[in-house]
Symmetry: C2
């Protein structure tokens, strides 16, 4: 009986309640008021996701009557949740990740600091750099192969992709320096 893997939103919620217990509304507001908005802020996604996390035992809820008189249902992470979260954070990085799942990688890196060590973060960056470099060379090869036949728009879009990945590369190398 293999456990269904968490969705990106579920991991985002898991990571946020790991930092500190929060209510569903606080989680919504976090997405709505920070640049993390791309991980969704609609209640129709967040509340069901929290239910699923609870059903699977990754988070538990409790009623918080300390911080205010108002009824608040706060969620906190469980030991099982921490295990799952850690496993996700520590997953080795593969080519597919940088091609398809850059959002997921950003999320992983953002949540890494409190659960993984400096060493793991640096390993992550090294793997990131390796895969990005490979993918940039793939993109450049493709760009050169179409450059004579493609339209101006086609070439420009390809350049956009290459420049975007080159920025990722620069960022990761600078980040590595910041760790040293």
């Amino acid at each position: 009986m293999k456990q269904r893997p968490c969705s990106l939103l579920e991991f985002a919620l898991l990571g946020l309640v790991q930092q500190q217990p929060r209510t569903g509304y606080a989680l919504r507001m976090f997405f709505a008021t920070t640049p993390a908005c791309c991980y969704s802020s609609s209640p129709g996604a967040i509340y069901p996701a929290l239910q699923r996390l609870e059903e699977n035992g990754l988070i538990t809820d409790y009623v918080d009557k300390i911080t205010s008189l108002r009824f608040k249902r706060k969620f906190k992470i469980t030991r099982k949740g921490i295990t799952i979260l850690k496993r996700w954070l520590a997953k080795p990085l593969v080519q597919k990740d940088v091609v398809w799942y850059m959002d997921e990688l950003r999320l992983r890196f953002a949540f890494m600091d409190s659960l993984l060590g400096r060493r793991d973060a640096m390993r992550f960056l090294h793997e990131f750099i390796r895969e990005i470099e490979i993918y940039i060379s793939v993109l450049i090869k493709y760009y050169n192969s179409i450059t004579s036949t493609a339209s101006l728009h086609g070439r420009l879009i390809m350049r956009n992709g290459i420049e975007t990945y080159k920025t990722q590369l620069r960022w990761a190398k600078q980040a590595l320096k910041d760790f040293k």
Copy 2:
């Protein structure tokens, strides 16, 4: 009776069959073998999407027995399809687009050349630059507000976002020059 808007995959398919008639398989292979792979290549997405486009009269199919003896069901765009596609391509750009839908903007720019004029493409880039500049200032403001409290990872991820958007800005300005 408002028509349901097309999904991103539907627009991608519409744009591709507008360039030239293609079979479902050829469309799948296009996604699978080019950097456009992020717009999906699974048959379970593409074939139903083609059916929907045909039901809505945006594309029609015909049997191509000219290029080979083999049965091939090719799709081509209809006049209605061109209208819908053009309307999508020419939509004015708003802040939400650069925050949430960069993929869609890339797709629109890539398909713009054959249906819209140079003037529209340049207008697109101007609007793009305007919205990106606004969003960068928002991100920097946020970055400065959290810089004293956030973790190293948090700051680094923010820098990643800012650098990524700055690259978009540089790209668009360079693209504008290429148009002149």
